[in-house]
């Protein structure tokens, strides 16, 4: 029999039973789940970030529906209020990717990512977990915005299924933009640069679109750009699924003739391009130091 003195016996630091964790794919999935939980925990701790995510779009909804609402006639008819709310949805979701990239660059500069990379975990989980958490954030933001929209008089005029499909199209686009943000955040080093670089290309994307003004009001060459802008496709798809005014007399360019298909192709293409690009950037950062 052995007698241990609980007062002086040092806790063992190596002989701990680490247990047997699952292996292979199960482990990789567990890593993703853990990283998603981390992202959600953080989100809960920084409520001001979420508030900041929401402040601008809420102001946009109010401004556009009350200040400009009556003054802007739409080609094809319909109330401007119902037109512009979906534009603000898409704009907001596109901008969220910038925050994702900035947050990731911040993690990189603080060495937290190094700690993950030194662990025997599935590296992709670092990125997938973040994208998942951002998707949850996008759901929250969309929910709050929809409520604000309803308050100012925005309505959908199709069935529940069609409305849900419209929200799905918006969220899929948000997910795609998250991966764009992740790729940017990993390629630049500092949070400041990530933020500027992100805005630099999201700003024109958000505004050279049918989000706030009908495309027909733009100069001819800009109309072409706007028509092929993914934001335009997503906004047109959501509007048609919600039964909101489209802001055009007759669709005259290919993506606008089939907005739902165009929106899905755009989002899936962005995901297909930017997930591998993000992984590549993640691996490359190991060589740069």
């Amino acid at each position: 029999m052995t007698v241990t003195d609980p007062g002086t016996a040092p806790t063992s630091l190596t002989a701990t039973d680490l247990g047997t964790a699952p292996t292979g794919l199960g482990l990789a999935l567990r890593d993703c789940a853990v990283m998603t939980r981390r992202g959600l925990l953080r989100m809960g701790r920084v409520p001001d970030e979420l508030a900041y995510n929401l402040a601008q779009p809420i102001i946009f909804v109010l401004l556009f529906s009350y200040v400009f609402g009556g003054a802007i006639p739409l080609p094809g008819g319909g109330p401007f209020k119902e037109y512009v709310v979906v534009g603000v949805f898409a704009q907001t979701l596109a901008f969220m990717g910038v925050g994702t990239g900035t947050g990731l660059a911040m993690d990189m500069s603080r060495g937290v990512i190094d700690r993950f990379r030194a662990l025997p975990m599935a590296n992709v989980a670092v990125l997938i977990g973040r994208a998942n958490a951002e998707l949850v954030r996008a759901v929250l933001v969309t929910g709050v915005l929809a409520l604000v929209g309803l308050l100012v008089g925005w309505r959908t005029h199709t069935g529940v299924l069609s409305t849900a499909a419209g929200l799905g199209v918006l969220l899929l686009f948000a997910y795609a933009m998250t991966w764009v943000g992740i790729a940017i955040g990993l390629s630049v080093r500092s949070p400041e640069v990530a933020s500027t670089a992100g805005l630099l290309w999201v700003l024109p994307l958000g505004f050279v679109s049918n989000g706030f003004v009908p495309i027909a009001s733009m100069p001819e060459w800009l109309q072409v750009v706007a028509a092929w802008n993914p934001v335009t496709a997503v906004v047109a798809a959501a509007r048609s699924l919600f039964g909101n005014p489209l802001g055009m007399a007759a669709p005259d360019r290919l993506p606008l003739e089939h907005p739902v298909v165009a929106a899905l192709i755009w989002s899936l293409a962005l995901i297909a391009i930017f997930i591998p690009l993000s992984l590549l950037a993640f691996r490359r950062s190991a060589r740069r130091g």
């Binding site: 853990v34 990283m35 662990l119």
Partner: protein, 317 residues
């Protein structure tokens, strides 16, 4: 031999900066290896390569027998890392940080829980364990960071300046934990700027400068390399400095140096006590009024200055 660290000819370039210039290093299993070097010597770069965070541009290294470049995942399963800057999640609590990093280190949830409680207690974080790390002091953050590094009971530990920013009690605790770990067979590579700590706690010391290894040995061996004991004679008046120097020279001490500000003459004292008698006799003969006379063993500071300066001169040739 398999449990230690072996690095051969490591080269790492950052653009035009040569951070590692053919570095060799061998750390036997179950020992604390103290890595010393001036700022910019390449210590962190070496640690990051060994912990699989950076790829070397040349040479190779093995940790526990696994190649850091080709078997990175195997290396990650056996090492623990605490980088130079605490890398814990600001917005999460200590418990949440430990939980998340433990699960990612592939421990079971039950093991993570038990282990976390143990480490929280050990590193004196019980009262703060459920507060976001954002509200911690620098030392608390550092202790949590070390706790995370120890979570999965690693066989090899890399600690980059683990005691920087800790108060004396925190530093003592780090070294105590490290001592316990090493007794149980863990190998630790620790960089530090506190030479007296390295002297006291490291089994083996490697001094690097400008990306190259300049000396390896036990603390005592390294001190022997910079010569014998140091003699220091303090006088009352500046006018006593020249006769004091003459006395030391007459006693056979090479190159005595005088410092007018502190009124001290210093020299290396070969042969220990027997020569000391000569020194005192000569000082007496020369009529020097001695205020204080000390003999001290060289410290690692002396080693550090002597070795890293030599590398400097070597470079200028």
């Amino acid at each position: 031999m398999n449990g230690g660290i072996q690095a051969e000819g490591l080269v790492k370039r950052y653009g035009s900066v040569l951070a590692l210039d053919g570095l060799d290093l061998h750390a036997p299993e179950g020992q604390v290896l103290g890595l010393l070097g001036p700022n910019g010597a390449g210590k962190s770069t070496l640690v990051r390569i060994l912990a699989t965070l950076l790829r070397p541009d040349g040479g190779h290294a093995r940790v526990c027998g696994f190649d850091v470049a080709r078997e990175a995942q195997a290396v990650r399963r056996v090492v623990g890392l605490a980088g130079q800057y605490a890398a814990v999640d600001e917005y999460l609590t200590a418990r949440e940080n430990l939980n998340i990093f433990g699960l990612l280190a592939r421990m079971t949830p039950a093991a993570v829980r038990a282990r976390s409680e143990e480490l929280i207690e050990r590193f004196d974080l019980t009262r703060a364990a459920d507060r976001p790390v954002r509200t911690y002091s620098g030392g608390m953050r550092r202790r949590l960071d070390l706790g995370v590094a120890l979570l999965a009971a690693p066989r090899v530990l890399f600690l980059d300046e683990p005691t920087t920013g800790l108060d004396p009690r925190g530093r003592a605790e780090v070294w105590r934990v490290l001592g316990d770990l090493v007794k149980e067979g863990t190998t630790a590579l620790v960089t530090t700027q506190y030479l007296e700590e390295a002297d006291q706690f490291a089994d083996l010391i490697v001094v690097i400068d400008q990306g190259r290894e300049v000396a390896t040995g036990k603390p005592a061996e390294l001190k022997d390399r910079v010569g014998g004991d140091h003699l220091e004679v303090a006088v009352r008046y500046a006018s006593d400095l020249p006769p004091a120097m003459a006395a030391l020279a007459a006693a056979g001490l090479a190159e005595p140096k005088a410092d007018e500000d502190t009124l001290r003459v210093t020299a290396v004292l070969p042969g220990g006590a027997s020569r000391l008698a000569d020194v005192i006799r000569e000082l007496d003969t020369g009529g020097v009024e001695v205020a204080d006379l000390t003999v001290r063993r060289p410290t690692l500071d002396d080693v550090f200055f002597a070795l890293t300066r030599k590398a400097d001169e070597h470079d200028r040739d």
